[in-house]
């Protein structure tokens, strides 16, 4: 009876751990693999951070009122790419070239400045919760403790690298642009290319 109870607890713990790990990986801005490096590498990177901008539709008044639903209803796709500069316009360097968006029409923007390894923290949380299965009945306390504290830590780790307009002003976000001083007039805009990056190859397990 007791063992059955414990194994049920363990199964619940596992399910929650998987759910939290999944949640830690989802509901985030999706950054292409290899675009961002860890903080100690990123600090000397001459390129801009990753940005995802949600522009409003034609009705800029609605945009200023942050009527996101209306903007989405019109099917405007978000603009994703390297954060180039912020001023009256927000410049994003996409794979197809430079895109300028009127800053007044931006509904939402998310900047990810560096790879915070928040997924590693989420995996750490899951491993910790799993290891708490060895605590026996005390796991009833330690597993939720791991999930709660680990979940908060993983979220905090991600948010340390993420900045969000309109919660954060453009003056804050521009620190992570390629040209924080604004787009220099002398720059040949057509010659600009997005930061080259190589997505890490998935590990291949060879059959022996």
């Amino acid at each position: 009876m007791r063992a059955e109870y414990l194994s049920r607890q363990a199964r619940i713990g596992l399910l929650i751990a998987c759910a939290c790990t999944g949640a830690a990986g989802c509901s985030r801005v999706s950054v292409p693999g290899g675009f961002l490096q860890a903080a100690d590498e990123q600090q000397r990177d001459p390129y801009g951070a990753w940005i995802e901008v949600q522009p409003a539709a034609i009705d800029s008044a609605a945009a200023r009122a942050h009527d996101r639903r209306a903007a989405r209803a019109k099917g405007l796709p978000p603009v994703r790419g390297e954060f180039l500069a912020a001023g009256d316009s927000i410049f994003v360097l996409t794979a197809d070239g430079l895109v300028g968006i009127d800053a007044a029409t931006v509904l939402r923007a998310d900047v990810v400045a560096f790879d915070s390894h928040s997924r590693a923290v989420a995996a750490w949380m899951a491993a910790g919760a799993l290891s708490s299965l060895s605590h026996g009945v005390i796991g009833v306390v330690s597993i939720p403790g791991w999930l709660l504290i680990g979940g908060i830590a993983a979220t905090a780790q991600y948010e340390a690298a993420a900045f969000h307009y309109p919660a954060d002003a453009w003056g804050e976000l521009r620190r992570f642009a390629r040209f924080p001083q604004g787009l220099p007039p002398a720059v040949d805009r057509r010659a600009l290319r997005i930061k080259p990056y190589v997505a890490p190859k998935p590990a291949v397990i060879k059959k022996l």
């Binding site: 590693a120 910790g128 290891s131 026996g136 009945v137 040949d188």
Partner: protein
């Protein structure tokens, strides 16, 4: 059976290792936070701002030029006269192609903005590291020694005690409903005054406690003396406690340790070949009062009995419920066997050297429970001795002796019984819990982590009084998953029916963990 028992422990160990590896990987990967600031290149403030740029490891400075170029410098210096910054790094063009590496010279007039960078330690990682260390310690405790987990009946503390000393543990031997018993504990370390005493009753183990009552017995303390409980549960007034003038144990003289009830305890290691091996502590008292005397022994058990009890439960494993049911039905003789198990290790037997009769037993004392020290008096009548030789016979490694003394016994004391006036439970005032403790047909059931505050009131105050706690009830030890791995009904029966052989078989296992058992036991205390 051996292999079967080891498998879950290996799995648990594997989980711990995987967790440690993940923690190591997570902690070692670059998880710092990037702190970046922009500094306008205004004359006069630049040197100051750069000097006060965010600190951290691996600082880098970027000089963003008006034409879009950027210098990434790992070290730099400003030459004020020429308005030039010199440093080492890489220059990139607007397309971020590296055009020059090495020594750089940056004209400040062409700089649009400076960018400072530093990496700071992540508070999330620090939190996770602390959490991991705590969790791994707990895992290590449970994997390495599942039978060192805290246990043993309700614990009682006196509220307001600055040292928060454990004062008593109730009905330690009552491990099943049919073994429900009344326990009398002297709260001899309590320092109370005023008309109110509040006891904190805690369930600090993975057990279910069933408490029928918890009454306070209050006896006036005689001038210069104390009130002590005898093994028969009677309270007797005593004179002053007389310390022994000499105590000798197998390890040598221990007079200083046993002369005062100061918490310093005389202990010994078990016999690694036989847990039932005895030892003798010899004491000498001089002078000796005449009349009826009491040999006062202040002691508590070591964790030996806890280990054996948990081992018995582990052997019973999933059939523990069947054993308990048989115990409750009075079939199979389990009641008698479990009751006989304790005496196998024995209490503390006391003998005095009587002229012409040799060593004469005056009784035995020693209450079950490894947590709180108990104080009991063994009464005997002095036949006219001026010097008294006492011999205590006890099981090696089974007892912790705090104090042994001699005292003159006075009259029996009729104590005033105080029942709790109010109970505060986990959710605040708990009238239902109070009703349970006041009604002998009801019981208060507590779970791990539960804390109840029992309030007692005496209009005349508690100054100059000795307090005793009379608790009645029983408790049910929870089966631990780790213990199930050792389920072996044959060994359980052997432990009950042939304890002598079992105590020899288990001796090496206990000897291996004996030294570390105490710290592991206390660190596994259950609290919410």
């Amino acid at each position: 059976m051996e292999a079967k028992g080891k498998r879950p422990r290996r799995l648990a160990g594997l989980l711990v290792l995987v967790s440690a590896a993940c923690a190591l990987a997570g902690g070692c990967s670059s998880t710092g936070h990037l702190k970046r600031e922009l500094i306008e290149p205004q004359a006069g403030r630049l040197r100051h701002d750069l000097r006060h740029a965010p600190s951290g490891n691996k600082k880098f400075l970027k000089a963003h030029m008006l034409d879009g170029r950027v210098y990434v410098l790992s070290d730099w210096a400003i030459e004020e006269p020429g308005r030039i910054m010199r440093g080492t790094g890489v220059r990139y063009d607007a397309g971020r192609v590296g055009t020059l590496s090495g020594e750089q010279s940056v004209p400040l007039d062409s700089v649009a903005i400076f960018e400072t960078n530093s990496v700071q330690v992540s508070p999330s990682i620090a939190t996770m590291t602390i959490l991991t260390v705590g969790s791994l310690v707990m895992s290590a405790i449970c994997v390495a020694s599942p039978k060192t987990c805290f246990g043993s009946c309700p614990t009682f503390y006196v509220e307001g005690d600055p040292d928060s000393l454990l004062q008593a543990e109730g009905f330690s031997s009552s491990v099943a409903p049919s073994l429900e018993a009344t326990d009398l504990d002297a709260l001899h370390r309590a320092r109370v005054s005023g008309p109110v005493v509040e006891l904190r009753m805690m369930n600090e183990a993975l057990e279910t406690h069933i408490v029928r009552h918890a009454d306070l017995l209050v006896a006036p303390r005689p001038a210069g003396g104390r009130v002590l409980a005898t093994r028969a549960g009677r309270l007797r007034a005593t004179g002053p406690l007389l310390a022994p003038c000499r105590c000798v144990a197998p390890e040598g003289e221990c007079t200083e340790t046993l002369a005062a009830g100061d918490g310093r305890e005389r202990t010994s290691r078990c016999d690694s070949t036989d847990l039932a091996s005895k030892e003798i502590v010899e004491l000498t008292f001089h002078p000796v009062p005449q009349g009826e005397l009491g040999l006062v022994i202040v002691a508590r058990q070591s964790l030996l009995t806890t280990f054996l009890f948990y081992q018995l439960l582990a052997y019973m494993g999933s059939q523990l419920g069947d054993y308990l049911a048989r115990l409750e039905c009075g079939r199979g003789g389990e009641d008698r066997e479990i009751r006989a198990f304790g005496p196998r290790l024995g209490a503390i037997e006391a003998e005095i050297l009587s002229p012409g009769r040799g060593w004469v037993s005056i009784g035995a004392t020693g209450e079950a429970g490894p947590l709180a020290t108990d104080r009991h008096a063994l009464p005997w009548r002095n036949p006219g001795l001026d010097t008294l030789h006492v011999r205590l016979r006890l099981t090696r490694g089974a007892w912790r002796l705090d104090h042994v003394a001699l005292t003159a016994l006075g009259d029996e004391v009729i104590a005033e019984r105080l029942r709790p006036r109010a109970v505060r439970g986990p959710g605040g005032p708990d009238a239902e819990a109070l009703a349970c403790l006041l009604d002998s047909t009801k019981v208060l059931v507590t779970s791990p982590g539960d804390v109840y505050h029992l309030r007692y009131e005496r209009p005349g105050g508690f100054d100059g009084c000795e307090l005793f706690l009379e608790s009645r009830g029983y408790y049910l030890e929870w089966m631990r998953e780790e213990w199930l791995a050792e389920e072996d009904p044959a060994k359980a029966i052997a432990l009950l029916l042939a304890p002598d052989a079992a105590l020899r078989t288990l001796a090496p296992a206990y000897a291996r963990i004996e030294a570390s058992m105490d710290s592991l036991f206390w660190s596994s205390r259950y609290a919410r």
